[in-house]
C-alpha cells in the first residue's frame, strides 16, 4: 500500500463528485424529501416517527454510498480508466481504501444534514451525541463502499447496478426491523436478518439516538458491522482486478 496513491485516489473522487453539481444537490434533496413525507404522514404519531427516523438515516447512508461506488467503479471499468490504473503499480487496497476515504466525507456530510433536519425540523426525539451518531454511520458507509465495488464486478452497465438495489436493499429494508422489530418476525426471517448490516445499523442508531446510549454501549453492533465490512472488503479485493 502507498499513502500517496491512496490519497490521490480519494482526492480525485472528491473532485469528481464536487464538480457534479446535480449529484451534490440530490444527495441532500432526496433524503430531505423522503423525510418530509414520512414526517408529514406520521405527524400525529411522533412515537412512530421516532422509531422510523434512525432507520431512514441508516438506509440513506447505505444506499447513497452504494450507488456512488457501484456506478463510479463501473464507469472506471467501462471507460478503460480501471485498465489503465491497474497497469500502474497501484495496489488493490490502495484503490479500495482510496474509494473509501473519498466517499467518507460526502457520507458524513449527508448524515449530518439528515440528522439536523430530523432533529430540528421534524422534531424527532434525540437524546444522543451528534458526533457519535455520525461516527457510527461512517462504519456503515465503509461496508457500503466495498459492497458497491463488489457488486460492480457483476454489473456490466448502470441499469444492472440499479437492478441490484432491490435485490440487496429490499430485504434489508424489510428484514432489518425498520417497520417491525426483528424479534417479532418469523424465525427463518430472523436468521436471514443476522447477516444484514442494516439491521445492526438500525439497532445501534436507535440506541444512540433514542435511548441516549454512547458508542461503548453499541460496541456489539459496531463490532458486527466492522466484521461484515471486513468480509465484504475481502470479497471486493478479490474481484477488483477483474475487468
Amino acid at each position: 500500500m502507498s499513502l500517496d496513491r491512496t490519497l490521490a485516489i480519494a482526492q480525485r473522487l472528491v473532485r469528481q463528485i464536487r464538480r457534479d453539481r446535480r449529484t451534490m444537490a440530490l444527495m441532500v434533496v432526496a433524503p430531505v424529501v423522503v423525510l418530509t413525507l414520512i414526517g408529514l404522514s406520521f405527524a400525529e404519531r411522533s412515537q412512530v416517527l421516532d422509531f422510523i427516523a434512525p432507520a431512514v438515516l441508516a438506509t440513506f447512508s447505505l444506499l447513497f454510498v452504494f450507488l456512488l461506488t457501484g456506478i463510479g467503479f463501473l464507469r472506471e471499468r467501462a471507460s478503460g480508466t480501471l485498465d489503465r490504473l491497474l497497469a500502474t503499480p497501484v495496489g488493490r487496497f490502495d484503490l479500495l481504501v482510496g474509494y473509501l476515504l473519498g466517499f467518507l466525507g460526502f457520507a458524513a456530510l449527508q448524515a449530518l444534514i439528515i440528522l439536523l433536519y430530523t432533529v430540528y425540523v421534524l422534531n424527532v426525539t434525540f437524546r444522543g451525541n451528534l458526533w457519535e451518531v455520525i461516527l457510527f454511520l461512517l462504519v456503515l458507509t465503509a461496508t457500503s463502499v466495498n459492497l458497491g465495488i463488489f457488486v460492480s464486478t457483476f454489473a456490466h452497465n448502470e441499469f444492472q447496478v440499479m437492478q441490484f438495489i432491490p435485490l440487496l436493499l429490499a430485504p434489508q429494508i424489510f428484514l432489518s426491523g425498520i417497520f417491525l422489530r426483528v424479534g417479532e418476525m418469523p424465525g427463518y426471517l430472523q436468521a436471514i436478518a443476522t447477516v444484514l448490516p442494516l439491521r445492526y445499523a438500525v439497532d445501534g442508531l436507535r440506541a444512540l439516538m433514542l435511548e441516549g446510549a454512547h458508542l461503548p454501549d453499541v460496541a456489539r453492533e459496531l463490532a458486527i458491522l466492522v466484521g461484515i465490512g471486513v468480509v465484504v472488503l475481502g470479497l471486493a479485493s478479490l474481484t477488483v482486478r477483474r475487468v
Binding site: D4, R5, D83, R84, P89
Partner: protein, 252 residues
Amino acid sequence: MSDEQPLAVQVQGMHFGYDGRTPVFQGLDLAVARGVSYGLLGPNGAGKTTLLRLVAGRLKPSRGSVLVLGHTPHPSLTRDIGLMPQSSAVYPELTARENVDFFARMYGMSRRGERRERVEEVLRFVELEERQNTHVSRLSGGMRQRVSLACALVHRPPLLLLDEPTVGLDPELRASFWEHFRSMAGEGTTLLISSHTMDDAAHCDRLAFLRSGRVVAEGSPETLRRATGRPDASLEDAFLHFARQEAGDVSR
C-alpha cells in the same frame, strides 16, 4: 540485436483465449528490439489490443511466455511500461493537468515539486499547456487523445504501449504525434504501436502484420514492400499480399 540487453518485448509460443473456447493466439512469436518504433498492423479483431494487454501484464498467457524487458510481467514492472488504451481512458470531470498529475502519482511520483515540473514538461510536449486547466469533457477528441498520451508517458517509461493512438486525429496532429514518437524512439524509448492504417505503418521502424492472431509478415516497411515482388507496391498492397498468401497456405 545487442546480446547483453534483453529485448524490449519477447513473445514465444504464446497461447491465449478470453474464455478458453475461442483462442485469440495459438503459438504467437514476436520480438521487439529496444529503442525502435514497432507497428502492430492488422484489421479489426486481429488481436492487437489483446496483445498489448498481455504485454502490459493485464492478461496472462495460457501457454508460452511473454517477456518484457527480460522479465515476466509483474506489478513492479509496471513502472517501466506506459499504456495508452484504445479508448482515451481519462477522467472527463478532471482537467487535463489533473489527469496527468493523477497518473503521475499512481506511478509513484510522490514528490510534489518534482512532479509538477514533469507534468508541465509532458503537457508542453503534447502541446496542451494552454488548455491544461480545461476539463477533459470540454476538450476536442484529438486533445483528449493527447491528454491520454501524456498520462501514459509521464513517468518516462522505457516501453510505451500505444493502442491506436492516431485514430480520430487530423493529418496535422497525426504528423505531430509521429514526430513525438520518433523523438522518443530516438532517445531510446521502445514504442509498440497498434494501428490499422498504412499511413501509420510507414512511420514505423519495424512492422508486424497481424491477422486472426497470427503474424503473417514481419520486417521493416521497406522489406515488406519489396517482398511483394512489385517495385511500386504500397504497404497496403503488401498487407493484402501476405494476407492472401496466408489464406492460401491454410486452405491447402
